[in-house]
Structure formats: C-alpha cells, structure tokens
C-alpha cells in the first residue's frame, strides 16, 4: 500500500541524526491551515489586481502613469 501521508525529514543539529517520518496530527492541522491561508491570499491578490485594473481603465491611465502621480 502506498504511503500518502506527508512526510517530514527531521535533522538533529546536535547529533547529526536524520529521520524521515509521517507528519503528526498537529502538523497535518497546521498544513491544512497553511493551505487555506495561501488560497485566501491568492484570492485577495487577484481581487486587488482586478480592482486596480478596473480603476485604471475608469481613469483612462496606465499603471506607469498612476505610479508617476503617486511618486
């Protein structure tokens, strides 16, 4: 049977010991939170880009011209 659980490579910097193990429950929860955060940020970034493009179109100026106004 294939192991589909995410794995973690752990290195002990004192002893040099290296192990590869399945992610534990706490780590799996954090991974799910990280994935959700990434999606949220991606959505926010896309929404911001769309709003910016719409505003520039409404004003009839380019991004460079808008930058010039703000500098």
């Amino acid at each position: 049977m294939t192991n589909t659980k995410p794995q973690v490579k752990e290195i002990n910097c004192e002893s040099g010991e290296e192990i590869i193990r399945d992610a534990n429950e706490q780590e799996l929860v954090q991974m799910a939170i990280d994935a959700a955060n990434v999606k949220t940020r991606e959505t926010e970034t896309k929404a911001k880009a769309s709003a910016k493009a719409a505003l520039l179109a409404k004003l009839g100026i380019t991004a460079e011209e808008a930058q010039l106004l703000l500098s």
Binding site: P6, Q7, V8, K9, E10, I11, N12, C13, E14, S15, G16, E17, E18, I20, A23, E27, Q30, M31, A32, I33, D34, A35, N37, V38, Q67
Partner: protein
C-alpha cells in the same frame, strides 16, 4: 606511536625511534575509521580520522587513558561525527559534533574524564543535505551559536507547485513581514503579518534552478533580547520572473528549530540543498 611502557634494557628498533620522533613532532600515528568506533588504550597519543557518509560516533570509556593523554579526532566524511561519552565524562565549551573537515582533541584530565577541545572555525556547519519530503526540519540548534546562517539553493517541488518558505520554532503566528520585487521593476510589494518567510511571492520552479536564499539569525541566548532575523532571496519563479525578496522576523525566544517547507504545507521537495552554519 601509541602510548606504551618501555622496560629497562629494552632495545628500541629504528621503526620505533622513527615513530617516537613522529609523535614528538606532534604527528602521532594515524588510524583511519569508516564506521562508529570506541576508543581503546592504544589510541592515546594518536590521531583518528573518520570517513563516513552517514552519522558516526567516537565513544569514550573510563579506565583506558591517564591524565595528560590526548587523542586527536578529525572528520573527513560528509556524515557528522559525534564524540560520545560512554562510561567516561566528556566536557566541551563547543559542540561534540564534528562536521566534515572539522577536528578536535580529547584532552584527558583523569582516567574517567576528558575535555574535547574543538578547533575554532569562523563558521561551523551544523547541518547540510538535500531537500526532500514535505518539510525539512532542522531541530536542536544549539544556543551556543549566536549567529546562524541558513543557505538554501535551488529549492523546487515535484508535486503541486508552491512557494518555498521558512518557519522558526514552529511559530505560525502573523509575525513575518516581507518585501518582494521583480528585478525589472522599481515597485516593491509588501506583505505583512505572514505566517512564514517566503523565498518568493510566486511559486518556485518545478525543476532544478539557481534560486538562492540566505536567512540570517542573530540568535541571542537570553530571552530578554529580541532575535533579529532577516531573509534575502533571489528567485526565478515558476513563470520565469526574477524576483528578489527580503524580510524581518522578531521574537524574544531564541531560535532552536527552522522548518523549510512549502507554503501550501503539502508539496514534496524534488531537490535543492540546505546548509545551516553557526558562529560562536
């Protein structure tokens, strides 16, 4: 020549005289090891080299050496060689772990105790290897190192494309702030309150690449002082854009672990290398 007891009237051979001369000129006999080894009495006054791709140990037991005896140990292999107290006591002001090309001397103060005097180096390699699995966690970072440098080169993922990120002490709070920019643009993008350092705002490539990240940590050992951490990256992203980024992280907790992982938490590293250096 290993330490031995000479007897009255004994005739020394030319080979013994040559060996004694070599020892007297601080070039005692050498013994090459390729696997973990336990010191024996005959190792007194000799130099031991370890050469192994895996982690190894040199074990020190009582009743074999006298006060004043020394054993020099040099690690030639990629695997970390650690001086291990068996039944004897081994103290050091440095680390008992020897990275590749590091060396130290066991200086016995009694039959049951030794001090390990490690050769000083500006940078000590604490861990190095290839990125694999979903996360690479560098744990048990000694607080004896006041400065840490993590160098990550060419990280990429073989499953879902993702960003390569760094997290300290499993701190997933909104405590990481960053700036990003395209090399061809003068307009940086800021990102505050992130839950990790990202090497790039976009996904890293899904194959070998020349992206580089350096994380610097001023790691004060006292909790009264703030840790100052910065990351600098130049990344070619998955779309072929060339990005730079830098950021800062502050915490009053000394950093003892660094996790290198994907931003989505589940992508698997396909390659890239990491090296963590410590400076005392």
């Amino acid at each position: 020549m290993a330490k031995q007891t000479f007897t009255t009237g004994q005739v020394l051979t030319a080979a013994q005289m040559t060996s004694l001369q070599q020892t007297a000129m601080l070039g005692g006999s050498a013994s090459a090891k390729t696997a973990s080894y336990t010191l024996v009495a005959a190792d007194a006054g000799t130099a031991i080299s370890m050469s192994s791709a895996s982690a190894t140990t040199i074990t020190v037991n009582t009743g074999l050496f006298a006060a004043g005896d020394t054993v020099q140990i040099t690690n030639l292999g990629v695997g970390v060689c650690t001086i291990t107290a068996g039944t004897a006591t081994v103290n050091t002001s440095a680390s008992l772990a020897l990275a590749q090309y590091e060396s130290g001397t066991l200086d016995f103060t009694s039959t049951s105790a030794a001090i390990f005097i490690k050769g000083a180096g500006a940078y000590t390699s604490l861990a190095s290897g290839t990125l694999s699995s979903t996360a690479v966690d560098l744990n048990s970072i000694s607080q004896l190192y006041t400065d840490l440098y993590l160098v990550v080169v060419g990280a990429y993922f073989i499953t879902t494309a993702s960003q390569c990120v760094f997290r300290f002490n499993s701190d997933s709070g909104n405590t990481y702030n960053q700036w990003y920019g395209l090399l061809t643009s003068t307009t940086p993008i800021s990102e505050t309150d992130n839950t990790f350092f990202q090497t790039s705002r976009n996904n890293v490539p899904t194959s070998a690449n020349a992206s580089t990240s350096i994380v610097y940590i001023r790691n004060y050992a006292t909790t009264s002082a703030k840790q100052i951490t910065a990351t600098f990256s130049t990344i070619t992203d998955a779309g072929g854009g060339n990005y730079w980024s830098f950021g800062s992280y502050e915490s009053s907790t000394a950093i003892s672990s660094i996790s290198i992982r994907s931003s989505n938490g589940t992508s698997v590293f396909g390659g890239g290398t990491y090296t963590l250096y410590g400076v005392k």
